[in-house]
Subunit: 351 residues, 2 copies
C-alpha cells in the first residue's frame, strides 16, 4: 500500500542504500539528497519503523506495567511519557490488575513486542519473571514498590517515614485512639507504611490498639468498606490514617455518605494530593508523594539503562514524601474528651 524505500529508490533513480542514507542523514551528495527528498515528498513516503526495528533490534519503545489505571499511576505515567517522548521513545502502558499471573503475561507480551526496556510496578514479591527478562538483556526498573530478592534498579518513596509523619502529626494534635486503614501487605508500599505506623507508637511509647487496624487492599471499595466499619463500630477511632490514595477516596465517600463531620467527629489523614484532596470537604491532610519527580527519575533511569549506561547498578532512589497539613486533622480540643465511648455516628449526630 504505502510506498517503501524501494519505490523511492526506483523513482529517484538511486539505490535503496542511498535513500536509506538520506533518511538517516548520512553523507550523501547535496544534489542527490535533493532528488531523494523530493521523491519522498512526492510519494508521501514514511519509514517503516517495524522493519527498522527488526534490523536494528531497537524499537524505541518502553513498556510500563502498572497495577491499575487509576489516577495515581496515570499521573506518573503522564510524566514518564513526557520525559521519554523527549528522548524519542514511546510508551506502551498496560495493567497487571494487582495480579501476579497477569503481570507475568504482560511482561512476556512486552518482551515479545521487543520493548527496549521496562518500567514495572510489581504486584507481589515474586521475582523470577523479572530476573528472567533482565537476564535476557532487557533493562528493568522497578517503580514505587520493591521486591526483595530482585537485584536491580528501583525508584521508590520513603514510605516508612511518610506514614510516620502522618501518624506523628495525629498524635501531636492530641489524638489517641488512632486507626489505620492498611494497604496490601504483599507489596512493599503496604508493608512500609504499616511499619511507619507502628514505629511512631514505639517512639512515643504508646500502645497501638490492634483492633483499630483494618486491612484493606488499596482499592477505593476497600477504603469505603473499612471506613464504614470504623464508623459503625461501637468504639470507633478518634482519627484514622488511610494508607493510600484510592482508599482515601473510598474513606471520604463513606464519611460523606454518613454525614460525619471532619475533623469535628473524626480526624483524617490520607494519601496524595491531587486536585481531589485539595478540594475535598474538608480539605484533606495528606502524605503527598513526589509523583512528578518519581516519573522523571524513573524515565531518566530507564533511558540511561537502555542506552547502555550501567553506572551504579543496581541503583536505589528513595524520594521523600511530604506531609501537607490541611483541615481534616485539626483536632478540636476538649470536644471529644467529654464524651464516653460510642459510635462516631452518635457523636456526629449529637446523640
Amino acid at each position: 500500500m504505502s510506498p517503501t524505500i524501494k519505490d523511492v529508490a526506483q523513482v529517484a533513480g538511486v539505490s535503496i542504500a542511498t535513500v536509506s542514507r538520506v533518511v538517516n542523514g548520512r553523507g550523501v551528495k547535496p544534489e542527490t539528497e535533493r532528488v531523494v527528498l523530493d521523491t519522498i515528498e512526492k510519494l508521501g513516503y514514511h519509514v517503516n519503523l517495524v522493519a527498522r526495528s527488526l534490523k536494528t533490534s531497537k524499537t524505541q519503545t518502553i513498556g510500563l506495567l502498572v497495577p491499575d489505571f487509576g489516577p495515581f499511576f496515570m499521573e506518573i505515567a503522564k510524566v514518564i511519557e513526557e520525559v521519554l517522548n523527549g528522548f524519542g521513545y514511546s510508551l506502551i502502558v498496560c495493567s497487571s490488575d494487582e495480579n501476579v499471573e497477569r503481570e507475568q503475561q504482560r511482561v512476556i507480551m512486552l518482551k515479545e513486542k521487543q520493548v527496549d526496556g521496562m518500567i514495572l510496578v510489581p504486584s507481589s514479591e515474586q521475582a523470577n519473571h523479572l530476573a528472567e527478562i533482565q537476564a535476557e538483556g532487557v533493562p528493568v526498573v522497578l517503580l514505587d514498590r520493591m521486591v526483595s530478592d530482585f537485584r536491580g534498579d528501583c525508584v521508590l518513596v520513603d514510605n516508612v517515614n511518610g506514614s510516620y509523619l502522618a501518624v506523628e502529626h495525629l498524635i501531636n494534635q492530641g489524638y489517641e485512639r488512632i486507626g489505620l486503614i492498611n494497604g496490601r501487605q504483599e507489596v512493599t508500599t503496604g508493608q512500609e507504611r504499616y511499619r511507619g505506623f507502628r514505629r511512631v507508637f514505639e517512639d512515643y511509647n504508646m500502645a497501638v490498639s490492634e483492633d483499630l487496624i483494618l486491612n484493606g487492599n488499596f482499592t477505593t471499595e476497600s477504603g469505603y468498606a473499612l471506613m464504614r466499619q470504623f464508623l459503625e463500630s461501637p468504639n470507633p477511632p478518634e482519627a484514622v490514617f488511610v494508607a493510600n490514595y484510592y482508599m482515601t477516596i473510598g474513606a471520604l465517600l463513606a464519611i460523606n455518605e454518613l454525614g460525619i463531620k471532619v475533623p469535628e467527629s473524626l480526624g483524617l489523614v490520607g494519601f496524595d494530593s491531587m486536585d481531589l484532596t485539595r478540594l475535598a470537604n474538608p480539605p484533606l491532610t495528606a502524605v503527598v508523594q513526589p509523583m512528578r519527580e518519581l516519573g522523571e527519575e524513573v524515565a531518566r533511569l530507564i533511558y540511561e539503562r537502555v542506552n547502555g549506561d550501567d553506572s551504579g547498578f543496581p541503583r536505589l532512589l528513595r524520594l521523600k514524601p511530604e506531609l501537607v497539613v490541611r483541615e481534616s486533622s485539626k483536632m478540636v480540643r476538649g470536644l471529644r474528651t467529654q464524651e464516653g465511648p460510642g459510635s462516631v455516628l452518635k457523636r456526629a449526630h449529637g446523640a
Copy 2:
C-alpha cells in the same frame, strides 16, 4: 541474544516452518508438536512480534491520540485499553497538547509505527492529515470531537443537549444572571456546548448577558482565572455553567480560595462526575458524559474497522450525557433578590 525460531528448529530437529506452525497452532503431528513445544520451553523461546508484524503487516496495536493526559481522557483511555486488550491489541497513547502541529507529528509517528488503526481526539478543525492517513489504508475513528470536512467514523457526545440540560436546570432553579465559562471554540465540543447554552435562552425567551460569557481554553488554569474574574467583577453572575471538567476544577479552586459559599452565593454547574465532583465541597451538579460507554464504543468500532468490517461507514455515534443534580445548584430562594448588584465576594462575606 534470545533464541529464535531457527534455534528451536535446529535443536528440535525440524524445519523452521514446522516450528512456526506449532507456534501458530496449525496442523502438525501431535508427537512433532510435543518435541517442538518441549524445545521451546527448554530454550525459553518467545516469538518476536516485530518480525511477525513485518511479515504479516499487522502490529496488533492501536494508536490513541488525545489532547492531554488529564483525568478525563485517561479515564476513557483506561476503558479503551481494557476492551482492546480483550481483543489481543495493545495501545500506544500519546498527546497532542491541543496543538495541531504536534498532532500531525504524532499521527505520522503512529503511522510509522504501523499501528493497525488510530483513535483520535482532534484538536482543531484541520482534516488533511487525517484524510491522508485514512487514504493510506489506516482506519481512523474520531473520539469526542468531530471535524466537519472529514468523512469518517465518530464517537461523540451530544454536547448541545448536555449543556442545554445544565443551563435549563439553572433557569428552572430561578437563576437569572447565568454566566458561562466557555470552552475552546476551535473544536466541536466547545462549539456545541456554547450552542446549547444560547439555545436555552432562545427557547425560554430570555436574553443572554453577553458580558457573562467568558472564553476559556479547557484548562484548569483558565477555569481558575475566569472564575476569579467573575467573582471579582462588580456585577457577577448568580450562577455559572462551566463547559468542561478541567475548567470546573479550576473554578472550584478559585471558589474555595475566595471562600465563596456555593450554592448560597453562587450557583454552579460543572462537567463530568469523577470522584472529585462527588466529593467536592459542595457536591457538584454536573453534566456527566458516559465515559465508559464512549471508550467501549470507540474501541469496538476501531476493532471492527481494523478487521475489515466497513459496515455503515461513516458511522456517527452520539451518546447522551446526563445531568446529575447535586447541591451546588440548589437556589436558595429569596436570598439573592434582596441584595443590589455587587461582587459575590461582598455577598459571601456579608458585606
